[in-house]
Symmetry: C2
Subunit: 323 residues, 2 copies
């Protein structure tokens, strides 16, 4: 049994000491940089791939990004994944099916990639952009669990949700959030963590990760009546709600670790494109109260691609162990 | 947005009115009977099976209980399952492998039952009692997901944890707890539910069920520092901790729904066997504070077998739909 771990006054004085502030003046939160952390992860992965390549003459981890159709946003995401893979030394291929592809054609394509031994990771870029109806749940679950580096298949979700973390692929965004939490030095075990959102790619797996790292976890969502009250008890708060600046600074527990997964575009006439990107947390007020906070952009965002690379390298390592 | 639903004063006066108490005298909790509720479920299932049998000339839902070895406790559990099945009209078979069975032999037996079209539900009685090492995780996951009426395979856990409730088998104990909560008339959506425990068969799936019935859910466990504080915020409390009478009445929120999954044997010299069964909740103090409470025995226990029957009948219905 132990108390709420790093007390807010200790956190405050630590931060005050670091920033040289004195007396009662509140320090602002320490920023957890996803840009820096993701760079550290990618550098580490590059070293690991170099080691594999020299140890197993020319071996390279292989990744396929399967796209159906030609959505602009998907194209952007895919090119950033391919670029990150190339930098690390992962052999990444972009397989593109036309927007006339049928469910059967997509399934056949997945089956052939599943059977290709030089591919260790396969992701299907969602949403599927086809003129035909395609069951995306079926598609996600057709990716071999051993290559499902997005961690979105039922089997991987089942393992994660029941605590079998060493034997599954963890979805990239929550995995990135955990890496950012680790950067703070705050231990998760014994803390009260609050997750806002229960989506398959953020909230639900985030709950699992925090729980199996031994936090007491509360999941909140659109039907939670007293969201500020719940948030106010969080030592660690992860927000994946998809609502711009919903979480206000005065909701937070003093000294909390705040991880913001939101990416929302709001009108801003001072910007060239007439809009800017904000998170699900109202940053300006939250950083007056939090102990640690992720910015948007430059927080969780860059971690997602880095953790996809991490899963791909891990999959290749497992493949080598099975050989 | 709504408040903590049935306020404790409303619940109290309802119960006072029912019991004829007056003034400030506290009423004791309404007992949620698993004996009665499970009987209702089994009667309903019997009717459904009768209907199937008459509609599809002689068709009967089929269940196999696979046992390895000869543990006394397993024998007891199995005989109660077989008895319940027989009463409902389910064709239940007990397949027994000797305690010298190897993993391969168990797997072959499962494969053959998986392929038998007259079997709609297959459960492997755990723990496996064999002189050989058998990976019980592998065994559990070898049961066809379409016949996994215990709901313990990764695929079923993955679907449940991600909210795909209509398309999976829900583990029997938490499914029984939900049925008992329904009996109270208290709606789950918008409530704050607290689950103590995170096991595969009770705590973890219970969290999922409460969450996807739209409660705000907190999961507590052995590493939760302030368990009384967490419990004190629960409108609905489900305890699957495996520790005799751990939860005390004065921890509870006034009027809470308390579901006790514990089955603990404690010494009692006044009893014939020198021991008696108690739950994880200290009943005598808890029923002074709770709005509704399950007894032990006669609460969650009888529901587990009833929900196994429910899953088997459901599986047979799905089979008929696929024909």
């Amino acid at each position: 049994m132990f108390g709420p771990v790093m007390s807010s006054s200790v956190a405050l004085s630590l931060r005050c000491a670091a920033s040289g502030c004195q007396g009662i003046r509140r320090s602002i939160a320490t920023v957890i940089s996803g840009n820096k952390t993701s760079k550290l992860v990618r550098n580490r992965l590059k070293e690991e791939v170099d080691k594999m390549t020299s140890q197993f003459s020319g071996f390279r981890p292989g990744l396929v990004v399967l796209q159906v159709g030609d959505r602009d946003d998907s194209n952007l995401y895919i090119s950033s994944k391919l670029r990150a893979a190339a930098e690390i030394g992962i052999d990444a291929k972009h397989v593109r099916l036309p927007n006339t592809a049928t469910e059967d054609e997509v399934l056949r394509s997945i089956m052939s990639i599943n059977e290709n031994p030089s591919v260790h990771g396969l992701i299907v870029q969602l949403p599927l952009d086809s003129v035909n109806h395609i069951d995306s749940e079926l598609i996600t679950n057709s990716v071999s669990p051993e290559k499902d580096v997005d961690g979105l298949s039922c089997i991987n979700a089942g393992k994660l949700s029941r605590g079998d973390l060493s034997n599954c692929f963890i979805p990239c965004t929550p995995n990135g959030c955990m890496e950012l939490i680790r950067q703070t030095g705050v231990s998760v075990a014994g803390k009260h963590a609050v997750v806002i959102g229960r989506s398959k790619i953020v909230g639900a797996p985030m709950h699992d990760l925090l729980l199996w790292n031994h936090a007491t976890v509360t999941t909140c969502h659109s039907k939670t009546p007293d969201l500020p009250g719940q948030v106010g008890r969080a030592d660690i708060l992860v927000v994946g709600a998809g609502r711009a600046e919903m979480v206000r600074g005065d909701w937070l527990k003093d000294g909390a670790v705040v991880i913001d997964c939101g990416i929302n575009h709001v009108p801003d006439e001072t910007k060239a494109g007439g809009k800017r990107v904000v998170g699900d947390v109202h940053y300006a007020s939250a950083n007056q109260r939090a102990g640690f906070i992720t910015p948007v952009p430059g927080g969780v965002g860059p971690m997602t691609v880095a953790m996809l690379m991490e899963n791909t390298v891990q999959s290749a390592q497992r493949f080598l162990l099975r050989r």
